[in-house]
């Protein structure tokens, strides 16, 4: 099958079959990654640059491992430390890197749309590793793969996304992906963090978590960023945990086999109970990390197949 995209900038541009193609290929890499010899050569000779304009340990490591396992030459650039400080613009930085002929550019940026802008200026394939509040497509894909493996399907599920939806690119990408795959989505959180316009995406909005969790198959928690506390979105961490933190009592309202997800890093005792997060019968948080590497390998392979073709 041909993957008809030059870049992976967001879930918005993908069709159902694109999504399925990535997940199917990722399954292969899940198997590969569980073997002791994990190496493949599909990206051999290609150069992958990870450009992170925002701090990240997990996503950057995941992309780096994915690239290395596929045989690419991987370079990491911590952008806060370099040219940005010298006043270089995003486009100049992109043009400079472009002149070094990378094949895959993995970009994270604190502003929505910055990765789209950069993709217009370079000749290589660009993967969005998170732009502002806009999209984080590989996170949504790894979540989808995790759900599909745990539930045996990726459609007609009741899925709750809980917490700071407003500022979350993870929530947006998941909302779009899970909607495209024909699931029912509920958004749960205080109205300051779950604005009413999200109902226009076809999601149901709940400000009462107990009501929202009833009979869901999947509970997806979002990280509460500390800066939201200062912004006056919620009164205090303890009140937030009381009303919107996931614990065993609230989870009991969901289906008995509901799974618990979190994109990490977690604030234990703020949005999720620590014991619950570690419960291997309910929590698939570690599996999400594992799927992340596989999904990123699959996405890079699909984009690499199109390299060299006329843009």
């Amino acid at each position: 099958m041909r993957f008809a995209h030059r870049h992976l900038l967001g879930i918005e541009h993908l069709s159902q079959s694109d999504i399925t193609a990535i997940l199917d290929l990722a399954e292969k890499y899940v198997d590969l990654n569980r073997q002791s010899a994990k190496h493949s050569d599909v990206l051999a000779g290609l150069t992958q640059i990870n450009m992170f304009f925002e701090n990240s340990t997990r996503t950057q490591a995941s992309f780096e491992i994915a690239g290395k396992r596929l045989g690419a030459d991987v370079m990491n650039m911590a952008m806060q430390a370099s040219s940005i400080k010298k006043g270089e613009t995003l486009i100049d930085t992109a043009m400079t890197l472009n002149a070094m002929h990378p094949d895959l550019l993995v970009v994270r940026h604190p502003h929505s749309g910055a990765v789209d802008l950069l993709a217009q200026k370079v000749n290589c394939a660009v993967l969005n590793a998170g732009d502002g509040r806009h999209e984080h497509p590989t996170q949504a894909l790894l979540d989808a793969l995790t759900i599909r493996r745990a539930k045996g399907r990726l459609h007609r599920l009741n899925i709750a996304i809980c917490g700071d939806v407003a500022h979350s690119r993870v929530a947006r990408s998941n909302l779009i992906l899970l909607g495209k795959m024909e699931n029912r989505i509920r958004l749960i959180g205080p109205p300051t963090l779950v604005p009413s316009q999200f109902s226009e995406f076809g999601a149901e909005i709940y400000d009462d978590m107990n009501e929202g969790l009833k009979d869901v198959d999947v509970v997806m928690m979002l990280r509460l960023q500390k800066e939201r506390m200062d912004g006056g979105f919620i009164p205090s961490e303890r009140e937030y945990y009381h009303r919107y933190g996931l614990d065993a009592a609230k989870l009991a309202l969901a289906k008995p086999d509901a799974i618990v997800m979190h994109p990490g890093p977690m604030n234990r005792g703020v949005e999720i109970d620590g014991v619950l997060a570690d419960d291997i019968n309910r929590s698939v948080i570690q599996e999400q990390v594992e799927m992340g590497v596989a999904v990123r390998m699959a996405a890079m392979e699909l984009l690499a197949r199109n390299l060299g073709e006329a843009a």
Binding site: I91, S112, G113, L117, D131, G132, R133, Q197, E200
Partner: protein, 426 residues
Amino acid sequence: MSNSIFTNARLIDPETGTDSIGWLHVVGGRIAARGDGNAPTTDAQVIDCNGKCLAPGIVDIGVKVCEPGERHKESYKSAGLAAAAGGVTTIITRPDTSPAIDTPETLEFVTRRAQADAPVNVLPMAALTKGREGREMTEIGFLLDAGAVAFTDCDHVVANTKVFSRALTYARSCGALVIAHPQEPGLSAGTAATSGKFAALRGLPAVSARAERMGLDRDIALLEMTGAAYHADQITTARALPALERAKGNGLDITAGTSIHHLTLNELDVADYRTFFKVKPPLRSEDDRQAVIEAVRSGLIDTISSMHTPQDEESKRLPFEEAASGAVALETLLPAALRLYHSGQLDLPTLFRAMALNPAKRLGLNSGRLSEGAPADLVLFDPDVPFVLDRFTLKSKSQNTPFDGQRMQGKVTATYVAGKEIYRRP
């Protein structure tokens, strides 16, 4: 003394609301006579309009010329040429330069620059507060004497209500017009789009359309207290209109404008983060756009401005949130406005009421009309010529127009200031 007669012209008269074939006689830079049908025989130089439209030149409130401070973005010369090519015969300049135009000395500097370089009439506005910082009012009296036609902090809202109420009170005693940007500044700080599905999808920090109404409501309450003369620079949302209507009904000295971009574009035009569509306030929903067009038609919104804001490529080639706001529009104001004529929503006299007559009246100018004794500031245009806009043909030093590559209809044939031709389309 100049003596010319425009014959066979489609006269667009915003005062009488008529659009009819006739003639116009100009003597000594002023309109001497006009009439319907065929022109009388005179010894005047004959300018045959070939049935094209002859309208009062556009009076554009709120043009940014980037002198002093950023002459590389726009100078009086380039802005003047752009205005002439766009049929704009009077530009009312903004004081949001760097430094701000907030002293009589700076105002005299720009007036001198304008007189030396611009072929159109240039009337400057001055800042309402020093440095546009919203703390202390400027020397409104001295600035009036130096030629300021209105006082505005542009897109800076005077957030301190006490400061604003004192400035309004003082301005009233001087007979000065205050132009404000109705917006609740706490809600709009740091935003780049209008709240709604589109902004949510794009992950852009957004402000509710209601923030405009909140700002307007506050200002209206202050007008009730102070009795000042007030013009809202841009009303762009449906929700602000009932408040405006009530304030006018209650006899307050209030008028309102809107921008050509809010009349002809909506939030979806931003598409994949196209920063040339980033303006302030942000583009609105289609429902808002339609409501604002209707308000111009009914006369509730008095004026249409270009809100001409030159920005260089560097300020726009950035992620959307970081990119500068504003668009150039002196040359695209008329063709964009003609979209509303071609769509059957506004007739030509109504458009020129909002683009020429009303702004002139609000500023106490005698222009903006085709009546005897008015200055012969005129635009001759063909409303039907189709073209595709190429931004690099614009005369502005900055070419940040959202209409680049778009199909437009209607071009200026010639522009006259005080009877003198200052532009003719090659």
